[in-house]
Structures are given as C-alpha cells and as structure tokens.
C-alpha cells in the first residue's frame, strides 16, 4: 500500500522534527516546561496520576481526530485544553510557545499520533482544524520552524488518505496504523489498537524519551506477541472497554500488561479452564437454590381435533415456552441446545466421514510400502552376488519378505479399489440409482473376495518361495563349489587335486544341507507367524487389545465407514426394540473421530450393557449391575434445580426395571449401580459400589463433582426407604472417591467414549485398561456394537 508509505514518511519526519525541538528544549531549560505541565495537570489530581504514567491511552484517542466528545470522556486534562495548550496557543501563538511545551508533552503523551494530527493541520491548505478540542494541540505541536514534509498536494492526498483510514471501520484503521502486525490482529476493535499504541509508547518512555513508536516496532511486536500468548479467557475483559472511552480502556490494559511480564504457561490455562468449570458448576448450584417457578400448565386435547379451541393463546404460549426452554432450537437446527453448545459444535453434525480421506490413507500406506520395496530393491543385486558365492540365509529371507511385501501391496491396491468402488456405490446411492449402486457394491464385494484370496495366496506364495529357494541355493552352491574346484585345479598339484575332489564332493552336500536347514527355518518361522496371526485373530474376535493397540477386524471398519458415510441423516441405522431407541445416521455421525457423543449412542450402549449384564448373570458371572440412562441425574436433581427423589421413584419399580432389561427386581440387589452423567458439555460416569460401600466418580478429566455423589447417596438412602422400608442413613457416610489413576482423555472430544468404557469395564469388574491412543479404535468397536445391538464381550 503506497499510502502506508506516506504515513510512515510523515511520521518519521515528525519524529525528526520533534527530536530537534526536544534538544532545543533541553537547552532552554526544562523548568518552564515542568511548570507548564504542572499547570495543565493540576486541575484534577486523578488526571495527574494518569499523566505521570507516560502512556495514557486517552491521548491516543485525542491524537485521532474522532471529534471532541471523545476527548471529553477520555481525559479531563485534555478535555480542558484552556489550561494548557489552549491558553498557550491563545497567548503566544504556536511560534513562541511550542518550544518549551513540546518536549514535556512528548514526554507525557504519545507524540506521534498527535504530531500526525498537527502535521495534517499544517500540511493541508484548506483543512485547518475547527473544533475547539484538538485544534490547539495541533497548532502547538506543529513545529513552525519545520515546514510540512510534503508539498501541499501530497499533503492533501495524505490527509484524505488518513481521514479515510480514521473514518474507516476499526479493524481497517488498525490494520493501517500497525502495518507490522495487521495480520495478527485482523479483526479487533479500535480499543485494541489503542492498547497497542499504549504499549509501544510505554516501552519507549521507559527507555528513550525521544524515540517514537515507529523506531520501536520490534519491541512493540514483542509485547504484542506476549499479549497474544495470554490465556484466551483474559481477552474478553481486556477488549470490553474497546468501544468505550479511554478511561474504561485503561484498567484492563494495566491488568493485561501486568500479566504479560512472565510468559503464561499451560498451567495457567488449565487453572483458568478449571475456573470456568467451577463457575458453571456454581451456576448450577445457584440455579438449584433459586428453585425457578414452573411455567403454567397447558392443555391440549388430542382426542378430537387437536388444540383447535386453543388456537389464539397458542402462539403466545409458544413464545413463553421457547423462552422457558432456554435457547429454543429452531426446527431442524442442530445447534442452540439448552446445554450450551459451543459454536464449534454447531456445524459438527454436518461433518461426515470422507471417503477421500480413507483413500488418501490407503494411498499413503501403499506409498510407504513402495518406499519399503525400493529400499529392499537396493540390496537385491548384492544378495544375488552373495548367493553366487555362498547362500546366506538372510538372502532367502529377504526374498520371501519381498514376495510378502508385494502381496501386501497388491492387497492394499485391491483395498483401494474396493474403497473406490464402495465410494462410488455410495455416491450412486445418493443419486438414487439403485441398479448402478448395486452393481458397484457387487464389484466391491468381489474385490473384497479377491482381497481375501490374495491374503491366502500371500502365505501360499511365501511358502512356495521358501520351498523353491533351496533348489536355487543348491544350484548356486554347486556353481560356487565348481568355481572353487576350478581355482584349486589351477594350482595343479596332486594332493591338491585329491583335496579338490574331496571338496567337490563335500561342498555341495553341506551347502544343500545348509539351505535345507534354512528352508526349514523359514518354514518354521512361517508356521510361527501363522500361529501368531491365528492367535491374534482369536483375540480380535474378543476385540481385546494387542500390544497396546486395539485389534479391529476389517469388517468392523467397513461397517464404521458405511455408517459414517454421507446419506439421509434421518435414516434409522439401528432400531433397538427393548430400549425403543432408534439411532439415525445423524446420531451415529457423532461416533466419528473427534466428535462429541450424544445421549442416543450412550443410552443405547447403556441398554446393551444391561443386556450383557443379564447374559453374564446367566453364566454366573458378576458383578450384578444396573445401568441408568443419562437422563437419570437430570431428573434426580439437575433439571428441577433441586434434589427430588419422587421424580425418579417410579424408575426402579420392578416392572420398569424389567422393561429396561434389568434382571433383578430391585437395583438394591445389584453390586454396582452405574450412572452416566451429563455435565453440561462433559460426560462422566458415577458408580455406586454397593459391595465396597462407596461412591466413585470416574471423570476422564479428573474432575470432582461432590454434589453429584451427594445426591446419589441421598437417592440410595431414599431408595432403601421407599423400596425396602429400611432406614439406611449409613449410606450417607460412605466415602466418595474421585480416582485419578484412571485413563485420561488428552483431547476435548473423547469423554463420551471414556464414559462408556468406564461403565463397561466397571460393569465387567475389569481394570480400566484403555488409553487415549486407542480411542478411535474403540469408536469403531462401539459403532460395531451399536449396529449389531450386542456388545462384543457379551457371553
């Protein structure tokens, strides 16, 4: 932008002129200037305080000709120009007065912006400031000895440019005024810019009085960088004053600067995060204490014509209800839930699994395989030459490894093809062309079959190769022996001849023996490998982890991808009759990596956990568990704002428990009562351990909600009282545990999966053996379980 250059030039020349005047002022004596300042700032003590701090942001506001009303609000000293600049200008005019006053001014207040103003005043042939506020400053700061740095026409262009900038929206203004940092602060209000200027000036005043912010861009940028590193949560407060007067701006700025001394660390962020969580919990508690009055009851008659008589008040009621439901989501809108959906989540359900990603992954895999192959190809000639001399077992192994790698590559390519066909099938389905889709799917299935065959071929080929290689090796060994014999013959001695004869006989036999050994070894290895694979497959059948990674069969991944593929979001993928939960494509989309889980997936999983529990009990396996749905805590205490046993009293009646899938007639017969809890935006798992007599709160973020466990304790007491007529006040004394040595989530999206796994592992009585790294695999497995409506570990 050439315009930026103009501004820079203008300011640089202004700085030159001001340093000149400063030197003069020093010579002339500072006392006069000091008195001048005293006079000016003496009016209001608070003002003096502010002026003693070199960079009052108000001044920058003054520097920008935004109108006098802004000056009034920003600083009393500036709002009363009559005491200082105004009087000076009136008494002696700019020529006589400006020299002593200017240096002090510059010391106290950021000169560049003001001098820009002054410069404008000087440079314009027509644009003399008319307003009473900024005009005197402009005059006083216009150094009369130095003419305008530009010819008039350039000045007027500059003026119009600067005006354009100053009258432009804040963000644009900022961009122009801080060219070095425009990218980083692209969309921040003017108040932010003021802050930047202030910081720059502060730094300058701390060191060299005369240097301008233009010469200190580096330092300024450093400070900005520091500020950028500040915790996110500090920013809103810092920006709050941005639109208002400078007096408002000043306070947050100071706070912010104080904080920027040391670079903020992750621990600070974590502390702030914790504060935010605590705050939300406090809000909930507050809400609990306030007991909001329930909205009026409405009546609708669905027996005849539904709600025909109540048409007029309906709209009004609808509005009321919308308010009562919090941010009532518009029909079809995914966002705006009462739970307070973060903005990032608003578009989340739209995010679908992308076939292209999968293809890319496969391509990357095959590429890496290619690399392997090419690196393998290097030693190949070497091994061939080696073999000619004496066949080392490594060469043979290398060869079979190559064959295996080739087979793997073929398999991957086939996989890729299959994926492509599947993707095409899905797009075709989308375009509602069933025949083509079917054909493509058939092709995909065929390729899958081929893939399977290839897999079989691979082992067969490797075995064949191992069998074939002894012959080759033997031939090579014979050749080598012949060569050795020929070399020995060349020596031409009888004894040697005899020796060579014996060698000729001996060598091939040993070499053959060696190769046979090698082939046996390789076969043994193959067998071992196969045994290992079959073992792994067995373990895969159970879905258990192998070497820290969960083994997921390819079919599960196919299911997963198909379920997450784009399609009709209302299409039912699962219809679980017992729980009456229907999982749509939209619901299952939340099982994609990095997506937040919704209640449907968790509640269906809970239902499957209940079925697993019933099956385990039939096999005599413990512990006996009950799993509540995620709405239990909402009904128990969250929604109505206070603990209310009666709201859930009927939930555990024998008939209802039977409907839910609970094998016992009472949850009090169980060993564990598992409650998945929805904590606003977080999923946790609370467990009532009836055997060990304690309440445990499994939080993958190490949170502690004592209130939740308190309510559960009261619930248990009331449940004993209601269902068993037992007064069990001792349950209130049971310890509350918040275990910390449990798997922790390392991102901001997997807590739902962790919660399900806490519930599943607790319900099985196994240690919590899973890690963050396995989460995507667990998601695949959970989708498989949801689609199959049966948990993998159901006996």
């Amino acid at each position: 932008m050439p315009f930026l250059g103009w501004v820079a030039d203008a300011l640089a020349s202004a700085s030159r002129s001001l340093t000149g005047t400063k030197r003069k002022a020093r010579e002339l004596g500072e006392a006069e200037g000091e008195r001048d300042v005293e006079e000016r700032t003496g009016a209001v003590s608070a003002t003096r305080l502010r002026l003693q701090e070199p960079p009052a942001p108000a001044v920058i506001v003054a520097g920008i000709p935004r109108g006098p009303q802004r000056l009034e609000f920003s600083s009393p000293a500036l709002a009363a120009p009559g005491r200082g600049g105004g009087a000076a200008a009136a008494a002696g005019g700019p020529a006589s007065d400006s020299q002593p006053a200017a240096p002090r001014q510059r010391h106290d207040q950021p000169a560049p912006a003001r001098s820009l103003d002054a410069l404008l005043g000087n440079a314009t042939p027509h644009g003399a400031p008319t307003s009473a506020g900024p005009a005197p400053f402009a005059k006083r700061f216009a150094p009369p000895a130095h003419p305008a740095p530009r010819p008039p026409h350039a000045g007027s262009r500059l003026l119009s440019g600067v005006r354009q900038v100053l009258e432009a929206p804040p963000s644009l203004t900022k961009m122009t005024l801080t060219p070095g940092t425009q990218r980083r602060h692209a969309a921040q209000p003017l108040g932010r810019v003021q802050g930047l200027f202030t910081a720059g000036r502060k730094a300058d005043c701390g060191g060299d009085n005369g240097s301008l912010f233009f010469g200190n861009q580096q330092r300024q940028q450093r400070q900005q960088r520091q500020r950028q590193q500040q915790p996110l949560f500090a920013r809103p407060s810092a920006l709050r004053g941005g639109g208002g007067g400078a007096g408002v701006e000043l306070q947050p700025l100071r706070q912010r600067r104080g904080g920027s001394g040391g670079s903020p660390s992750a621990s600070q962020d974590a502390a702030l995060l914790r504060k935010v969580v605590d705050y939300s919990l406090r809000q909930e508690e507050l809400h609990e204490r306030q007991h909001p009055a329930p909205p009026p009851v409405e009546e609708v008659d669905l027996t005849g014509e539904p709600s025909s008589s109540q048409q007029p008040p309906q709209a009004q009621q609808q509005q009321q209800q919308q308010q009562a439901w919090g941010a009532a989501p518009a029909p079809g809108g995914a966002a705006g839930l009462a739970s307070g959906l973060p903005p990032a989540m608003a578009a989340a359900p739209e995010r679908r699994f992308d076939w292209r990603d999968m293809l890319r992954q496969v391509a990357a895999q095959s590429e890496s395989l290619d690399d392997d192959l090419s690196s393998d190809a290097g030693p190949q000639p070497l091994s061939a030459t080696l073999r000619a001399e004496a066949p080392p077992p490594a060469a043979l192994l290398n060869e079979s490894a190559e064959a295996a790698a080739l087979a793997r590559r073929k398999a991957l390519l086939a996989d890729q093809q299959q994926l492509q066909f599947a993707a095409q099938a899905h797009t075709a389905l989308e375009q509602s062309r069933p025949e083509r889709a079917q054909r493509l799917e058939a092709e995909a299935a065929k390729i899958q079959q081929q893939l399977h065959d290839l897999h079989l071929q691979r082992t067969a080929a490797a075995a064949q190769h191992a069998q074939r290689s002894p012959a080759v090796a033997a031939a090579a060994a014979a050749a080598a022996a012949a060569a050795a014999a020929a070399a020995a013959e060349q020596e031409g001695e009888d004894v040697v001849d005899l020796l060579s004869d014996s060698e000729e006989e001996a060598e091939p036999s040993t070499s053959v023996a060696a190769t046979e050994e090698v082939s046996e070894e390789s076969e043994e290895e193959e067998e071992e490998e196969e045994a290992e694979v079959s073992q792994q497959l067995e373990r895969v059948g159970l879905g258990e982890e192998v070497e820290g990674r969960l083994r997921i069969p390819a079919s599960w991944r196919d299911e997963y991808e198909a379920a997450l593929a784009p399609g009709d979001s209302r299409e039912f993928l699962v219809d679980h009759p017992r729980s009456a939960i229907q999982i749509t494509r939209r619901d299952i989309a939340c099982m994609a990596p990095l997506q937040w889980l919704n209640d449907e997936c968790i509640n269906l999983y809970v239902s499957l956990l209940l079925e697993r529990d019933a099956a385990r009990r039939q096999q005599g396996l413990g512990p006996r568990c009950h799993f509540f749905s995620t709405f239990f805590c909402n009904k128990l205490y969250k929604d109505c704002g206070q603990y209310d046993y009666n709201a859930v009293r009927r939930w555990t009646m024998p008939k209802k428990l039977k409907t839910a899938g609970q094998a016992s007639d009472s949850i009090l017969d169980c060993d564990l009562i598992v409650v998945p809890v929805h904590q606003g935006m977080h999923w946790v798992c609370a467990v009532i351990d009836m055997r060990r007599r304690r309440f445990v709160y499994y939080d993958s973020l190490k949170g502690e909600d004592r209130r939740c466990l308190d309510h559960l304790a009261h619930y248990l007491r009331d449940e004993y009282k209601n269902k068993r007529q037992e007064q069990r006040d001792d349950v209130l004394e049971w310890p509350h545990e918040f275990p910390k040595k449990i798997p922790q989530q390392k991102n901001g999206c997997d807590c739902g999966v962790f919660t399900l796994l806490f519930a599943s592992h607790a319900g099985r009585g196994t240690p919590m053996a899973f890690t963050q790294e396995q989460m995507n695999d667990w998601r695949v497995r959970i989708v498989h379980e949801l689609l199959a409506m049966r948990l993998v570990d159901t006996p």
Binding site: Q314, P331, M653, M681
Partner: protein
C-alpha cells in the same frame, strides 16, 4: 343397560375414554394432552414438538426411565390418568 351397552360399543370402537397425559419438559413446563388410550404416542410427540417448536429428532421422551416407543400407546404401557412423560433435549458432550 342401554348406557352401558353404548359405553361398551364406544370402548371397542374408539379405544375407551379420553385420559390426560402430561408431558413435562426440562424447565418444568407441562403440557397436558387429552388422548384416548389407544392413541399412538407419535401423535403426542409430534403435537408437543410442534407446540415447542423443536425438532422431534432432538427431543427424547421418557416414561418412568424408559424411552417411549412412538408406536406404542398409553394402554400398552398401562398408563393412568395424569401420568407424566418427561421430555429431554438432546445431550451432547465431549469435554469442558
């Protein structure tokens, strides 16, 4: 005799007398629906969602801890006069 006979006919034909069923949302607001015992819950659900201007896909209806099957009826669940169905908005969570 004639009255009881008429009632019997009515029960067989229309599914019995109308009963009121409450649907309670999470803020405590209640809407009472007058329905016949053999009316499918789907009708109640859709009427409620229309009334509240919410997407039916985002509301869960729970009766005594168990999800409401849209195709079942109050009679199938042995519901009585004045029973309450709870309506919950979709819950979603990943972290804090």
């Amino acid at each position: 005799m004639e009255d009881s006979g008429e009632n019997n006919i009515k029960k067989e034909a229309g599914g019995g007398e109308a009963m009121s069923i409450k649907v309670k949302d999470q803020s405590g607001g209640e809407v009472v629906f007058r329905v016949k015992p053999h009316t499918k819950f789907e009708k109640i659900i859709l009427a409620f969602c229309q009334k509240k201007s919410v997407d039916p896909a985002q509301v869960r209806f729970v009766y005594d801890g168990n999800r409401l099957d849209r195709n079942s009826t109050p009679a199938e669940l042995d519901m009585e006069e004045g029973d309450t169905i709870d309506a919950f908005l979709e819950q979603i969570g990943g972290c804090c």
